[in-house]
């Protein structure tokens, strides 16, 4: 108790210095938290993807299409329970800054395959009935203030057509990591429009989505589908939705690595800041530590006082850092939500914060504590006079 009191009093002897140190720890931990959340947000699409869904695309690349005619053949493959298809539309709403994901799908089968998009029955009905209807996620609708019945025009980028839609339904996510900022509409509407201006591009789809009866069948079903189209004009690659998502992410993998590294660099920086504070502190208190030694306090006790003080400072910073991570994340989300449809702080982050902080506190104390331990009393006392 006495030692704890002494540690706390010592920690706040130089209030300004201690507050600056705590401040830098708080900033660093908030940055650390945001960076780590960015990484997991990036992977959230993967986490949300289902193991019972496969995606078939052109073997050459995503930029190439597949004939719609493949659908029936795929449907007949053993283990396939449902097939849907779609194309990435990549339309722009008013201007490029309003980026969001939008694509054309076969609506009935798509909604069957994606039960995590929850839509009120009457809205679903209205969407299926209206070929110019579209569905928006609740987050997207909020972002632009859309309600059902609103008119929305998307300028084509991949396709040379502009499409006018009526918002017929707004979905919410069934799970926490369901993306609530998607926009999708009837593939047939797109195809019809494309037929008028670029007839050779009609009847083509970007990808097929298959539901399978058992996740364990995924490798066999994929292989069977791809075998069917071997040596045809458009060969296919079929993979689980997870690996499909991952292949998107792998493009940015290097960037994610950089973010991961930077997040740990941030920790290294607070280690340096704290170590600096602690060595300044210990240098100033050389005389006092000599007195304690004179009175019979052993080197380890003094090391304990120093490590304790370092931990107190760092852990206060850690607690505040954790407290500020939520507001910081919500600011981040409001600014960049379009790029990170799912931006949730993982509670495990705080365990990582606490562990990293404890490590920082101890490591920062090692050198100063060692110096204080080996300090000769006679030398230390001489410095007071």
């Amino acid at each position: 108790m006495f030692a704890l009191k002494l540690i706390f009093k010592n920690a706040f002897r130089h209030k300004f210095r201690t507050l600056l140190t705590i401040g830098s720890i708080v900033i660093a931990l908030v940055a650390f938290g945001l960076l780590r959340t960015v990484v997991s947000a990036w992977y959230a699409g993967v986490a949300a993807s289902s193991a019972t869904r496969l995606v078939t695309r052109n073997a050459v690349s995503l930029a190439f299409t597949l004939p719609l005619a493949y659908k029936d053949k795929i449907r007949q493959t053993d283990g396939v329970t449902d097939v849907s298809y779609g194309s990435w539309f990549g339309g722009i709403y008013i201007n490029e800054k309003n980026f969001f994901a939008n694509f054309a799908v076969e609506p009935g089968s798509y909604l069957r395959l994606y039960p995590e998009y929850v839509i009120a029955p009457e809205e679903k009905e209205a969407f299926l009935r209206d070929r110019h209807g579209a569905v928006a996620g609740i987050k997207l609708a909020r972002r632009f203030g859309w309600k059902t019945g609103d008119l929305v025009t998307l300028k084509g980028t991949v396709f040379p057509v502009n499409l006018d839609f009526v918002i017929r339904a707004i979905y919410t996510g069934r799970d926490k990591n369901t993306d609530e900022s998607q926009f999708f509409f009837h593939w047939s509407y797109l195809d019809e429009a494309v037929k008028k201006v670029a007839p050779d591009r009609a009847g083509q789809v970007g990808f097929f989505m298959e539901g399978i009866s058992d996740p364990l069948l995924a490798p066999r079903v994929s292989a069977n589908i791809d075998r069917m189209f071997k040596n045809s004009l458009a060969e296919t690659i079929t993979e689980t939705e997870k690996s499909f998502q991952l292949s998107f992410i792998s493009m940015t993998e290097a960037l994610l690595d950089v973010i991961q590294i930077v997040s740990f660099v941030v920790i290294a920086i607070i280690m340096a800041v704290t170590a600096n504070t602690m060595s300044m502190t210990v240098r100033e208190r050389t005389g006092e530590y000599s007195i304690l030694k004179t009175l019979g306090f052993g080197g380890w006790r003094i090391a304990g006082l120093i490590a304790g003080e370092s931990l107190v400072i760092v852990m206060i910073g850690c607690a505040l850092g954790i407290a500020f991570t939520y507001p910081a994340a919500s600011v981040f989300k409001s600014q960049l939500g379009a790029y990170f449809p799912v931006f949730n702080i993982d509670r495990r982050l705080f365990i990582l914060d606490a562990a990293a902080s404890a490590l920082v506190g101890l490591v920062a104390a090692v050198f100063p504590a060692w110096k204080a331990m080996k300090l000769s009393i006679a030398e230390g006392l001489r410095r007071i006079g």
Partner: protein, 223 residues
């Protein structure tokens, strides 16, 4: 009666670069139980060095220092640390109190190394502060006390563990006349009434006159 401090053939040098500088040479003397000894001598003569060696905060190069029957030159660093806590009370020129602790807490500090309970520690510390006349200043921080009062707290801290010897390095060196007299009277009482053995280094002849025995150190030789 067996002397409480027995010093035999004590030698100590410091290294200046790779040149050894002899500070103390072949010092042999005894201090009797209950003695109040003043050690004088010009600056740089080795008084502080000798005191540190007796108190076990520095190491001899040669010779032995036996205190209360224990040859402290034969103790390991850890044993010596533990020995100091139980056997020596220190009084310094600059009081050397811990500034973030109150007078009471400063006096309680050395008792943390004993097996006493919190209650017992506080009882002891209060009693000793009363002894030095500071019962109404217990909750003051060192910064709120005068030099003389701080030195009295330091004396309380030195005696609270009931050590075998008290060592004081120029205890009045930083005090004005009146405060110095108070401190010396207090030390005299500790010696006279409680029978504490005191070894005091001083430059001040008036302080030295309060002691029973006067030794002078000159160029490393005791006379």
């Amino acid at each position: 009666m067996e002397p409480i401090v027995r010093i035999r053939g004590l030698g100590k040098s410091y290294w200046r670069g790779n040149q050894p500088v002899k500070v103390l040479e072949d010092i042999t003397f005894d201090i009797a139980q209950g003695e109040f000894l003043a050690l004088m001598g010009p600056s740089g003569s080795g008084k502080t060095t000798l005191l540190n060696l007796i108190a076990g905060i520095d190491r001899v190069d040669s010779g032995t220092v036996t205190i209360g029957g224990v040859d402290i030159t034969a103790l390991s660093e850890n044993e010596l640390t533990g020995w100091r806590a139980m056997n020596v009370g220190f009084i310094f020129q600059f009081y050397n109190l811990i500034p973030v602790l109150t007078a009471l807490e400063n006096v309680e500090l050395p008792l943390l190394l004993t097996g006493l309970s919190k209650k017992e520690r506080l009882e002891h510390a209060r009693a000793v502060l009363k002894l030095v006349g500071l019962e109404d200043r217990m909750d003051h921080y060192p910064g709120q006390l005068s030099g003389g009062q701080q030195q009295r707290v330091a004396i309380a801290r030195a005696v609270v563990t009931d050590p075998v010897i008290l060592v004081a390095d120029e205890p009045t060196g930083d005090l004005d006349r009146a405060a110095a007299e108070d401190v010396l009277t207090l030390m005299e009482n500790l010696n006279g009434q409680l029978g504490k053995t005191i070894i005091m280094v001083t430059h001040d002849p008036r302080a030295a006159s309060r002691a029973h025995v006067l030794r002078t150190l000159e160029k490393g030789v005791l006379t």
